[in-house]
């Protein structure tokens, strides 16, 4: 059930109407039932896996907390890791590794009889796996107490607004809200509706408008001129951002209507002045997860320059692989790892040369930095979007070996979509709050709401699924 589907239009009000008249514990049972229904709508068989994961992590959490002996605590953690990473590996990466192994064998002239097991990966498995992993790891690190109420824990794992594409919520932030009484105030309700409106606007008016052209251009990059390839690159950069941040906005809005606050996942990332800043503002919940559960345990920046770069690179490679079982995602992650390492080196040099730091405060340099950062990110998107290396390479070489002249008129659509998005981004960048639109004067606000509603109505109807649901 997509957030932009007719089903959800009926599902959400039905859930809320009953939710608002129940007491807290009944509310949690109701939300849990609604979440299972929401998830089972794709395929009811997926429920068995999420239920198994919930059970294992619930008991693992209790066991780790109760046990004093370090060895046994570790066993409890391993059980959780085995269950979660095992399921993730089996459903999402088994075929990828088997196929890669076979391809490697082929290149050495060895023909392996690889097992053929085509499993459909459950929707959002990467998201809820990371969320439940953080729970057991935090208990193991004595940073979190386990939940004793199974319903509350099951709701933490399957809470429908963020189940399939995040934000990846930590137990310390989401669980207390599940366990305590909730109140939906007037401000919260209005903010929730506004977030849903903004999310739908980003998804339908911008991401879905870009989608058909992106598909066409990426399906055959050799046949396109360089200007069209550039157009495809800009359009995909817009599409992926508006698709994912639109989803996150709807998720936050829906959750606000329930009385639960979800964390902000995007902070105008394309206005970042460097790549490190970009990762502080793009898919924030994943970046923080990777930092806390991968980068820092690997040693972070504590063991010298070389190991710091290695850790950065490893974290980003795994972050890339997290997105999908394809080497193109690994390369995408690797590129970002290299960019981050390069920026780290540059920052070290720059901190020595104080004069450069002074110059960087000039607004023109900031704009230049934003421009460069955006284009580096956009170039890396080529690997993210391409189905294989051949396509990515054709795309890149089509851009590098510029051909077919430059037609500014071809870039009309990206510029138009940027113009649609710009007021929202500008307002958000000033206060780091997507709801800053509410601070506009009333007529301007009304005009903006109206424009968004009309754009949703007129441009809607494509029913393009959210990109991140596949992860």
């Amino acid at each position: 059930m997509w957030f932009n589907s007719w089903e959800f239009l009926y599902f959400l009000p039905s859930v809320l109407l009953i939710y608002y008249i129940l007491n807290r514990q009944a509310q949690n049972i109701w939300l849990l039932a609604a979440s299972y229904f929401f998830y089972g709508w794709w395929d009811w068989r997926f429920l068995s896996l999420i239920l198994a994961s919930t059970l294992v992590d619930y008991f693992a959490g209790l066991f780790i907390h109760k046990t004093k002996e370090a060895k046994k605590r570790r066993r409890g953690l391993y059980a959780s890791l085995f269950m979660n990473l095992g399921a993730l590996g089996l459903f999402k990466y088994f075929n990828f590794f088997v196929d890669s192994f076979a391809a490697l064998g082929d290149s050495f002239g060895l023909n392996f009889n690889t097992p053929a097991m085509r499993l459909l990966p459950p929707v959002g498995i990467s998201f809820y796996t990371f969320q439940t992993l953080s729970y057991t790891i935090d208990i193991y690190r004595n940073k979190q107490k386990p939940v004793t109420n199974f319903i509350n824990f099951a709701l933490y794992v399957t809470y429908f607004p963020q189940l399939v594409a995040g934000p990846i919520e930590r137990a310390k932030s989401l669980l207390p809200q599940i366990e305590n009484k909730r109140i939906v105030s007037q401000e919260q309700f209005q903010a929730g509706i506004l977030l849903i409106l903004i999310g739908l606007f980003k998804k339908i008016a911008i991401a879905d408008a870009a989608a058909p052209l992106v598909d066409e251009i990426f399906s055959n990059p050799q046949a396109q001129t360089s200007t069209i390839l550039l157009k495809g690159l800009y359009l995909f950069s817009l599409q992926i951002y508006c698709d994912f941040s639109g989803y996150s906005s709807i998720a936050r809005g829906v959750s606000k209507l329930i009385g639960i606050e979800l964390s902000e996942n995007f902070q105008t990332p394309y206005l970042s002045a460097n790549i490190t800043d970009f990762w502080r503002r793009w898919h924030i919940s994943l970046s923080q997860w990777l930092r806390d559960y991968l980068y820092i345990p690997l040693g972070g920046n504590k063991f010298g320059t070389v190991k710091t770069y290695r850790n950065l690179l490893l974290t980003m490679l795994i972050g890339g692989l997290w997105h999908g079982a394809n080497w193109t995602f690994v390369v995408w992650g690797g590129l970002h790892g290299l960019f981050l390492a390069a920026h780290k080196k540059f920052t070290e040099i720059r901190s020595v040369a104080e004069s450069v730091k002074q110059k960087n405060k000039h607004p023109f340099l900031t704009i230049l930095n934003v421009f460069i950062t955006f284009h580096l990110v956009a170039l890396a998107w080529i690997f993210f979007r391409s189905p294989d290396f051949a396509t990515a390479w054709n795309y890149l070489s089509g851009l590098i070996n510029w051909h077919g002249g430059f037609q500014l008129s071809y870039l009309k659509l990206p510029f138009f979509l940027i113009a649609l998005l710009a007021p929202l981004e500008w307002l958000q960048s000033r206060s780091f709050d997507v709801l800053s639109v509410t601070r506009l004067p009333i007529p301007a606000r009304a005009f903006y709401y109206m424009a968004m509603i009309i754009a949703i109505i007129i441009l809607g109807g494509n029913d393009v699924p959210f990109i991140y649901f596949q992860f």
Partner: protein
């Protein structure tokens, strides 16, 4: 209420007066103004249905809705609905004392997968007929045209929406801002696209643009492919409903036929032969009445006047072949 009750009404704390802010009221007023402007601007005779089906199908559907009963359905693509005006066909039958009401359910745009979906999900649930004329040309079974295949997928998917989704779209279409969203979307680029096709009586849809148009397409006609399967399935589906089926070759410009590779033409003949072999299907050879090249607007469609003559000749042919008398009297 007792303490143990599962009910509690304290979660939502919104004062009644605070439900709509000033900005929300202004937004609603603005939307109502837009709705009013659209209602005042849109010319009469258009049907707002929220881009659920393409406009031609909407208008065809509205025409079908007005008819009391249907005796004969013409089923096919635009090769059916552009080339066979049912009114001219019925007039001839009436001269022979056969009171008949036929409807052309041919739909422009998709291949036979879309045709079958429209018949099953849109036309047939409204009106049933005892006889159907299946109009099939090589182009209708061609799966090489990617654009047509994609369009067909979109058509078929729109027909197969759940009832509640279709009902929602129908309800929302009472707001013209929603109902004409497809036209509004195209408006800045192409101007107001009020039904480029003039759907005449009984589903006939003459081409609006009378300039000759040419296009090139490859041909791939697969007897075991999905398009042919949709045709076979439609025949089975109609046969199960006791419909007598008349199968005829749809029109193609003579030059277009020569352009189709012989192997693909052979495949087309295989499909037609398979259809004709079905119990309730009667194949009628219409090659003797095919219009000459000068009557064609493009490779597949003929001018309105030529279409009227063709429909009359078709009626004469059916009578002379004796295929209509039994069922349609």
């Amino acid at each position: 209420m007792s303490r143990s009750s599962i009910f509690n009404f304290e979660t939502l704390q919104i004062p009644r007066k605070g439900l709509f802010t000033q900005a929300a009221k202004l937004t609603i007023a603005g939307l109502l103004l837009c709705e009013l402007a659209i209602r005042l601007t849109v010319p009469a005779g258009q049907i707002p249905t929220g881009s659920w089906y393409n406009h031609t199908i909407r208008l065809q559907n509205a025409k079908l809705h007005k008819l009391e009963k249907i005796d004969i359905y013409f089923i096919g693509t635009s090769i059916s609905c552009v080339n066979i005006p049912p009114k001219a066909f019925d007039e001839v039958l009436e001269n022979y004392g056969i009171k008949n009401s036929s409807f052309n359910a041919g739909i422009a745009g998709p291949d036979f997968v879309g045709v079958a979906a429209a018949m099953k999900h849109l036309y047939w649930p409204q009106k049933q007929a005892k006889t159907a004329v299946l109009v099939v040309a090589p182009n209708d079974l061609n799966s090489a045209n990617i654009a047509v295949r994609e369009r067909t997928q979109a058509y078929a998917a729109s027909f197969e929406q759940p009832a509640f989704a279709a009902a929602t779209v129908d309800f929302l279409s009472h707001f013209w801002l929603f109902g004409f969203r497809k036209e509004l979307k195209a408006w800045p680029k192409k101007g107001w696209q009020f039904d480029a096709v003039d759907v005449g009586s009984q589903g006939f849809t003459p081409l609006p643009n009378l300039q000759r148009r040419r296009w090139q397409t490859d041909y791939r006609i697969e007897p075991d492919g999905p398009v042919a399967a949709a045709l076979f399935d439609l025949i089975d589906w109609l046969s199960e409903r006791d419909v007598s089926l008349i199968l005829i070759n749809g029109l193609s410009e003579p030059a277009e036929i020569t352009r189709i590779p012989q192997a693909q033409l052979d495949n087309f003949e295989i499909i037609m032969a398979r259809c004709a072999a079905q119990n309730r299907v009667k194949y009628v050879d219409v090659s003797s009445i095919n219009p000459v090249a000068v009557n064609f607007v493009d490779q597949l469609h003929i001018y309105e006047d030529a279409a009227k003559i063709y429909a009359r000749q078709l009626a004469y042919l059916f009578i002379s072949e004796g295929v209509l008398q039994a069922d349609s009297k």
